[in-house]
Amino acid sequence: MKRVAIQAADFDVAAELAALEALGGGGVASFTGVVRGDGGLIALELEHYPAMTQAQVDRIVDEALARWPLLGVSVIHRFGRLAPGARIVFVGTASRHRTAALESCAFLIDWMKSDAPFWKKEHFGDGATQWVAARAEDEARAKGWKA
């Protein structure tokens, strides 16, 4: 199973996990990213490159499928304006082996940080806005998988 969805709408984590569990592999790992409400943040705006996003996330998922013996991968990434507490991203993997499920899940979320064409803009209660800067630590984590 391979599922990639780039969407504005929210998603149902329980339903996504159930679909992965139904594959019969014995191991399912997942990560859900949620908007933090730090420092008076009232919204996180996610911009993306529509012509490129789906194909690029497909490539990242194909790379995970090539590296680990996976029965299923599910990636959902939202765009648009999201409030604190809202889900941003979901990565789920299913495998017969826990190591493959856990490692591929970490790999996918690390690569999404540096290889998926999304940009985050923070909106604060006092009207200020700020684009989130890429973190050297994130790029280093993604590069670590490439070595």
């Binding site: 490159y49 012509a51 999404m112 998926a116 999304f118 940009w119 684009w131």
Partner: protein
């Protein structure tokens, strides 16, 4: 030959004040970095967004590329900050 489409994202888009434009195709041996320098020379928001190439990333026809890549017969060049997905 057809024109080249340039698309901008995030603060690059905001500084320039538009998300897309069409320009005359650069010479065949022109790189993305050459295009960035030409656009930055327009001044104003272009200079603000594009005068420091170290802060920029690029894609040619929806594939990430280094800034020294040749544009060749590509249809679309995208200019943007480092991505912050996930």
């Amino acid at each position: 030959m057809a024109d080249l489409t340039i698309v901008y994202f995030a603060w690059v888009r905001e500084a320039i004040g538009r998300d897309e434009e069409r320009v005359a195709r650069p010479a065949a041996d022109g790189s993305v970095a050459d295009l960035v320098a030409t656009l930055a020379a327009r001044g104003g928001g272009y200079a603000q967004a594009l005068s420091d190439p170290a802060r920029l990333r690029a894609a040619i026809d929806q594939r990430f590329v280094p800034l020294d890549s040749l544009i060749g017969d590509a249809r679309e060049v995208a200019l943007f900050p480092p991505v912050t997905g996930g």
